[in-house]
């Protein structure tokens, strides 16, 4: 024993070393228990680096002006990412709900943006603004002005200050009163949720009906001029026609381009207007123009105007001038500039660039439009390009070209009952919120059926059928409602890119990948979706563990209930290599039941915020939620699947008082925290005791907010965000 001689007396150095080691071990162990792991509150970080939740900062209302929403940044005990909330009230509203706590732990530290020296005020439209950015102050130390006339795009906003003097000065100018953090967090806030968007989807449908009906009435005008009889060309006829009359274009081909400067209807059943390959064929520059029955072709092939875009960059006036000019100034079959009330009915465009180009408030009602675009998307442009123009599209068809419909700052648009095929994107929204995309069919889309870019708020994507495309629905933004879509045979069914959103009742079948969780910090609900026959049901990108369920309701995963356990008894993890193989290889069951897997899986959902890159459904459903749609989706002979979502949403929102709706575990409703009947006024009128129960008994410090949760129960009953 040259190395170790237990019988020899150890050297002095060795003795000292051993003693020291022992001492270090004892001190370290004692220290580990004496030290409070949460005592060091982290310092605020640059807001650009937080993961943003709460109100969108990219709505048109905010992007287009100087308004601000007071911001908050929060450090949660389990979550490695710093969460930023737009709107102090967005953060305060999470303190009363156990979901955030179960997902992220409790807030270790929270900072609010205070505006003492930032020259706060309000814009002309009453939105809060300040000349400078605020500075970060611990939430518990700040003083808040509530009830002032300062508003956010979502409603009342709380304005924080570091000092009471500054708060009272602001209150003197703008009303309201100064209160402390305790008062702010115990208030009830009218926070719009994705459920609000869901409840509004049928209303938007009805609003579209009304717009179409109004358009029909608008277009129905007495005949004043007939081309060929009263005027030689269509342009001459339009010039001759008095306002609010109809120009009739008899069947035939008319080789001309024209500009409409009068509010007339041009009715041309069987008539074709053929341009000369330069510029746009029909340019509309008057309100309430109607175009019916026409065929249009022969526009120029310029998709964008690089010249205009370059000038715009130099002027640099509005934040999106570049895109407005670049995308809004190409050639089109029909181009409308500052022409609100446009009606396009039963029109066909063979598009060399865009089919229909709307800009500068050319709000349009479009029915039965058909746009045939370029075979290669690079050669063409949009079927409809709507720039700052709200469109209502129904029963139309878009084939080929770049995007079927591209909308830019077109809040409130509706696209429904339309068919898209062989585009780059079927429908593509940028900075466009509060829209409804419903009951459309998309086929063979090169990039995606529906894509929403930037961070708009309040879009409803409902009842669409996307097949054989790169992706079904990829919608970013906030407070989106993505429900009742049928996504079959795509590379990706849908992604959960939109935050604070609700993904329910979607059918993802036979896709290479059913769904992908993308946002780093989960804040959405994914529940009551059906996943069948996908190569992989779901995968997750970087970020905290996503819990895809709402209370005791999960999703239906083919394969989740294979095996010897009671259906629905075991949590399902689509991202686990074992669970993910269950629907393809029965042998995975044997692995799943192994003690090693069982021991590892048992507590997995315990600290979801601190885990990463995976999805868990604690309560997988035993049967599909939408069996009929699933059958139709998997039947190769069946056409597009249509969900009767309006009836179902109406049914769910009808009857019964609020308490009954909250208490009942209705298998057909998305239960738990999402109240299908929530309306804009809903949360504010709810009894405070019902939603804020137990607040008084909770710890009062700002850093220890929210109800306590046992880790063991979180594993099995944590309702989730994705």
């Amino acid at each position: 024993m040259a190395l170790f001689d237990p019988y020899g007396d150890p050297s002095r150095a060795l003795r000292i070393a051993l003693g020291a080691l022992l001492l270090v071990a004892v001190v370290a162990t004692a220290g580990a228990f004496a030290a409070d792991p949460e005592s060091a509150a982290p310092s605020p970080v640059a807001y650009d680096d937080v993961v943003e939740l709460g109100l969108s900062s990219e709505t048109d209302a905010l992007m287009a002006g100087s308004a601000r929403v007071p911001r908050t940044q929060v450090f949660y005990s389990q979550l490695q990412y710093v969460v930023g909330y737009n709107g102090v009230e967005s953060f305060a509203a999470t303190l009363g709900d156990g979901r955030t706590e179960r997902q992220f732990g409790y807030p270790i530290a929270a900072y609010v943006e205070t505006f003492d020296d930032a020259r706060p005020g309000t814009t002309e439209t009453g939105l809060f603004e300040s000349t400078f950015a605020g500075e970060w102050t611990p939430a518990a130390e700040a003083v808040y002005v509530v009830g002032s006339d300062a508003r956010s795009p979502a409603g009342e906003t709380v304005v924080p200050f570091r000092t009471r003097e500054a708060a009272e000065a602001f209150a003197a100018d703008h009303g309201g009163r100064a209160v402390d953090w305790e008062a702010v967090r115990s208030r009830s806030y009218d926070t719009d949720s994705a459920a609000t968007v869901r409840s509004m989807a049928p209303e938007r449908w009805d609003a579209a009906d009304e717009r179409i009906a109004a358009a029909e009435r608008r277009a129905d005008r007495p005949v004043s001029v007939v081309v060929g009889e009263d005027a030689p060309t269509v342009e001459a006829a339009v010039a001759a026609a008095p306002a609010n009359t109809t120009v009739v274009v008899p069947p035939g081909t008319y080789e001309e381009t024209l500009t409409v400067n009068e509010s007339v209807t041009i009715a041309g059943e069987g008539a074709r207007i053929s341009g000369d390959g330069e510029g746009s064929v029909i340019t509309v520059r008057a309100p309430d123009v109607a175009l019916t029955g026409l065929s249009v072709d022969g526009s120029g092939g310029q998709t964008r105007d690089p010249e205009a875009a370059r000038e715009g960059r130099e002027d640099g006036e509005v934040w999106d001038t570049n895109i407005q000019l670049g995308y809004g100034h190409g050639d089109a079959g029909i181009r409308a500039i500052d022409a609100p009330g446009l009606v396009v009915d039963d029109v066909t465009v063979e598009a060399n660039a865009s089919g229909l180009l709307l800009r500068e408030g050319s709000h349009a009602a479009i029915r039965d439009l058909r746009v045939d675009g370029a075979d290669e998307w690079q050669d063409g442009f949009m079927g409809i390009a709507g720039m700052q123009s709200r469109v209502t599209v129904t029963d139309s068809r878009f084939e080929g070209g770049r995007d079927g419909i591209y909308l830019h700052r077109a809040d409130g648009s509706v696209v429904r009952n339309s068919t898209f095929a062989d585009n780059r994107y079927g429908t593509h929204l940028m900075y466009t919120g509060d829209a409804l995309l419903a009951d459309n069919a998309f086929r063979n889309e090169l990039f995606a059926g529906i894509t929403v870019m930037t961070r708009p708020s309040g879009n409803a994507i409902v009842g669409n059928d996307v097949r054989n495309s790169s992706a079904g629905v990829q919608a970013s933004g906030t407070r989106a409602y993505i429900g009742y879509n049928t996504l079959v045979g795509n590379e990706l069914g849908f992604s959960t890119s939109s935050r604070g959103s609700l993904y329910e009742r979607n059918v993802a079948a036979d896709n290479e990948l059913g769904a992908r969780a993308t946002t780093v910090v989960p804040s959405s609900r994914v529940v009551a979706n059906d996943f069948v026959g996908n190569g992989e049901h779901a995968t997750a990108g970087a970020g905290a563990l996503r819990v895809w369920a709402d209370g005791d309701r999960g999703n239906y995963w083919e394969g989740a209930n294979v095996g010897t356990h009671q259906p629905g008894e075991r949590a399902y993890r689509p991202t686990s290599p074992v669970d993910g193989a269950l629907h393809r290889h029965v042998a995975a069951v044997a692995v799943r039941e192994s003690p090693a897997v069982a021991l590892l899986d048992r507590l997995r959902g315990t600290v979801p915020g601190a885990r990463s890159g995976s999805i868990i459904d604690p309560a997988p459903a035993t049967a599909p939620y939408s069996p009929d749609r699933l059958d139709a989706a998997l039947d190769p002979g069946a056409g597009p699947v249509h969900a009767d979502w309006r009836a179902e949403l109406d049914e769910r929102s009808g009857g019964g008082d609020e308490d009954a709706a909250m208490n009942a575990r209705d298998r057909n409703a998305t239960g738990g925290g999402i109240d299908p009947r929530a309306t804009r006024a809903g949360p504010a009128t709810r009894p405070i005791s019902a939603t804020r129960a137990g607040q008084a008994t909770r710890p009062t410090s700002a850093t220890r907010a929210g109800p306590a949760t046992r880790p063991t129960s979180a594993a099995t009953e944590g309702p989730g965000d994705a």
């Binding site: 237990p6 792991p37 450090f75 990412y81 270790i108 601190a610 220890r704």
Partner: protein, 287 residues
């Protein structure tokens, strides 16, 4: 140098030499390291922090650590007795208590090496590698901290020490290597499963759930699990606690650790009669 400490120290050194000369224990440590790091790799919790790593390790640890401890202890006091060395040792001025204390101290040190080192290595590995899986956002540690893993390690060693001493007691009771294995396995199963089964039974029999925090603390595994929930994992949740009575749980683990040597000492001191009784039982079964 005389007095009881000398006796303990001498036995301790001798026993340490025995341990060091047993290559199997080195293999055990390596195997444990492989198992623990394999669990972390499969579970994925270690990729992001200490708390999720502990979540992944907690349940497997409840089986692995008692197993390793029983392997370390099941022959600790048997071997000398079987080979006749104990009889020789007893001719020296070493009392039974000193002998048992020396052996158990050495076995506990062995446990710190065989179990503590693999867990510590894994902890250092988590320390070095755990990171948020994207760097595009600002990140912070939350309540996650190496201190929490250190707490976990302390509980692991406490659990292991309890099992080492129980296994040593069993080894003092056993008459042969085979019966030592059988009794060691029995102690392992009784410890890992039995306590919780008894608790289940008593709850099923109408015991009030309010007794859980106290009753849970009585068994080594229950005490360990409760302590980890309370002081490691539970830290990531808003303060509520109450998974286990901390003082009682620590007291229980220490108590089990002390209970072993007492039983072992008593057995070695007065055990011939027990041996004889066991022998009669054995011959009765015709083994």
């Amino acid at each position: 140098m005389t007095g009881p400490l000398t006796g303990v120290a001498t036995v301790f050194r001798r026993e340490l030499a025995t341990v060091v000369r047993t290559p199997g224990y080195g293999v055990l440590a390596v195997g444990l390291l492989a198992a623990v790091s394999g669990l972390l790799a499969a579970g994925g919790g270690g990729a992001t922090g200490f708390v999720p790593a502990v979540v992944d390790l907690l349940l497997p640890t409840e089986a692995l650590v008692p197993l390793a401890a029983v392997v370390l202890g099941y022959r600790a006091l048997l071997a000398d007795g079987a080979s006749g060395e104990l009889a020789v040792i007893r001719t020296y001025p070493v009392r039974v208590g000193e002998y048992v204390a020396g052996v158990l101290l050495a076995r506990t040190v062995a446990l710190v090496a065989v179990v503590g080192v693999p867990y510590a290595v894994v902890g250092v590995g988590v320390w070095l590698t755990a990171a948020p899986d994207t760097g595009i956002f600002a990140t912070h540690a939350g309540v996650d901290s190496p201190l929490l893993f250190l707490r976990f390690l302390a509980f692991v060693l406490l659990l292991g020490a309890a099992y080492v001493s129980l296994a040593a007691a069993v080894s003092a009771l056993a008459a042969s290597r085979r019966s030592a294995i059988a009794l060691g396995a029995l102690a392992l199963v009784a410890g890992v499963l039995g306590g919780d089964l008894l608790l289940l039974r008593s709850l099923g029999g109408g015991a009030s759930p309010a007794t859980i925090p106290g009753a849970l603390a009585l068994t080594p595994n229950g005490a360990f699990r409760g302590l980890v929930f309370e002081h490691v994992i539970g830290v990531a949740f808003a303060p509520e606690g109450g998974f286990v009575a901390t003082g009682r749980a620590v007291g229980s683990l220490v108590g089990w650790t002390l209970f072993g040597p007492v039983v072992a000492g008593a057995t070695l001191a007065y055990g011939r009669r027990v041996d004889a009784a066991l022998e009669r039982v054995r011959s009765g079964f015709g083994v």
